[in-house]
């Protein structure tokens, strides 16, 4: 099998994997949260049921809207999925480095966010507008910190490609993972929680329009369009969780494809996702959502942490290169 066919197969399996796994991960988090709160929780396949239900429903859209509103779900879906290609699940795709690195990753995510916010302004509903405005406020705070913490990781491995960052982590001496790396991951973790819109930044399960951020932007969507938007959101969640879990536990990314390595890689990947999901669930259960303008303090603190990480990176790398 030549490299190109192999790469195409890998890319296709990454796409299929992301599409299929993302509803499940969301359901798992919800289920665990339910169990922790003493409820039974939703069935594990609820995500798939929801999607099929959305795709069967009639689509009602506002009469104030234009083509932007109805194409936005496609753009959000595709930009998220494209961003998803840069983050390895449990196998390495060699050619992926050729499309772009972390900067492209961040900007692709923000492309989706741009269209989501823009489309939310379109029906002229107060709730959508408010959600869109708040989403923009969050994104203004998220983007620089996300870039900074990712760039610190890039500097450590001298590459802007996420797969390379992860594999170079494994190659290093792991008895003492560098402290700046730990700090950068810590900052990135806080930011990721904000990026996937979970407590303490945004509550995905709220039913009260005035507290909605992400959900609020979807208020005017229905049917297929809503289905795609929801799916794109789950995709983003899975991508971010994969990013975090592969950075925290950089082992188990396979590049040789035998039956055994694939199955152990997959099992390990699922285990990693489960650990991160448990952390997120615990956080959601224990911590309360903070006031909107307090979000700034948390995100700025994580900015400061990434600056600290940067300073330490400079110290460490400087010391290594000095004769």
């Amino acid at each position: 099998m030549n490299i190109e066919t192999k790469n195409i197969i890998l890319i296709l399996s990454q796409i299929i994997g992301l599409l299929l796994l993302s509803p499940m991960v969301n359901s798992v988090i919800k289920k665990m949260k339910g169990l922790l709160q003493g409820r039974k929780g939703i069935p594990l396949f609820q995500g798939y049921y929801d999607l099929t239900k959305y795709f069967h429903k009639e689509t009602v859209i506002s009469d104030q809207t234009s083509w932007i509103f109805s194409t936005t779900p496609l753009i959000v879906f595709s930009s998220t999925l494209t961003a998803g290609l840069f983050v390895p699940m449990f196998f390495e795709i060699e050619s992926i480095g050729m499309f772009g690195g972390v900067i492209l990753f961040v900007y692709l995510l923000s492309l989706g966010r741009f269209f989501m916010s823009l489309a939310a302004m379109e029906p002229g509903s107060g709730f959508c507008g408010m959600a869109s405005s708040r989403e923009m406020m969050l994104s203004v705070l998220i983007e620089p910190v996300m870039l900074l913490s990712l760039i610190v990781l890039c500097l450590l491995s001298n590459s802007t490609q996420i797969p390379t960052i992860i594999t170079s982590l494994v190659k290093h001496d792991l008895t003492f993972p560098s402290i700046s790396y730990v700090l950068a991951i810590f900052a990135l973790f806080i930011i990721s929680i904000a990026e996937i819109g979970r407590i303490p930044f945004d509550n995905q399960e709220t039913h009260y329009e005035l507290t909605m951020i992400h959900e609020g932007m979807l208020l005017e969507y229905s049917g297929k369009l809503l289905g795609l938007m929801v799916w794109a959101n789950w995709l983003k969640q899975l991508i971010i969780i994969s990013l975090i879990c592969n950075l925290i536990f950089p082992w188990g990314i396979i590049n040789k494809f035998t039956l055994i390595s694939i199955s152990t890689g997959l099992a390990f990947y699922i285990l990693k996702i489960l650990i991160i999901s448990i952390i997120i669930t615990l956080g959601e259960t224990v911590i309360a959502k903070v006031r909107l303008f307090r979000v700034k303090d948390i995100l700025v603190t994580s900015f400061a942490i990434s600056v600290l990480a940067l300073i330490l990176v400079i110290q460490e790398l400087g010391r290594v290169s000095m004769p």
């Binding site: 303090d297 700025v300 603190t301 900015f303 942490i305 600290l308 330490l312 400079i314």
Partner: protein, 223 residues
């Protein structure tokens, strides 16, 4: 003296705890709940204790062990408990009223750290230190402690700033002369402890007189 805790071995471990020290001071500046500030302070002090122990073992100095125990008692148990007591009494948990907003303070704090690490490139800076990383962190923490005292209005947060500063000074002495002489350390701890008592009483009195623990209200006392 043969010791398994050589400097090559301890340096990375100490650098971890050093960063935790810095991290905690950043979190203290960024937080606006007094209770969580006390928790961060507790963590910072525990790190200091661990660092003290490591340094103590590496240079085989029984004196440091004693210092470590005293610090553990004072900074990790008595002071947090006392602070929590005062917070409960004055019901001031959420009242970190800042003069400069927490996020700006955090930014200034990180700029301070960058500044100190930048200075550490110069020749004379940190020359006497045993672990340069710890020295930089200690100086940064002293400055951040001062910053907290400058930027907050409430008496309680100001005294926490003082404690953070004292932690920095402690780390500094630890790094340069392997811990203060026992008597000095005792004296300082006692001072601080009396400080918290006085502050506690003071805070409660201010609260009784002004219905708030805002220090800026004290300017009314001026003639």
């Amino acid at each position: 003296m043969n010791n398994f805790l050589t400097q090559e071995f301890t340096t990375p471990i100490i650098s971890y705890f050093t960063v935790v020290l810095l991290l905690m001071s950043i979190l203290i500046t960024g937080s606006n709940r007094l209770k969580s500030i006390v928790k961060f302070y507790l963590l910072q002090s525990s790190c200091l204790v661990i660092i003290t122990l490591i340094i103590g073992f590496s240079i085989n100095n029984p004196e440091t062990l004693r210092i470590a125990i005293i610090t553990l008692l004072g900074k990790c148990i008595v002071i947090p408990l006392a602070l929590n007591f005062v917070i409960d009494k004055s019901q001031a948990n959420k009242e970190v009223v800042p003069i400069i907003s927490p996020s700006t303070t955090v930014l200034i704090a990180s700029a301070l750290i960058a500044f100190v690490y930048g200075l550490s490139m110069t020749q004379n800076f940190g020359r006497i230190a045993y672990y340069p990383g710890l020295f930089n962190a200690a100086i940064s923490i002293i400055l951040i402690g001062l910053l907290i005292m400058i930027s907050r209005k409430k008496a309680l947060t100001q005294i926490i700033g003082l404690y953070v500063m004292e932690n920095g000074i402690f780390a500094l002495t630890l790094d340069t002369v392997f811990g203060m002489p026992f008597v000095v350390e005792m004296g300082i701890s006692l001072d601080l402890f009396i400080g918290v008592l006085i502050m506690g009483v003071w805070t409660l009195r201010i609260k009784q007189s002004f219905d708030s623990i805002d220090v800026s209200k004290l300017s009314k006392l001026k003639g």
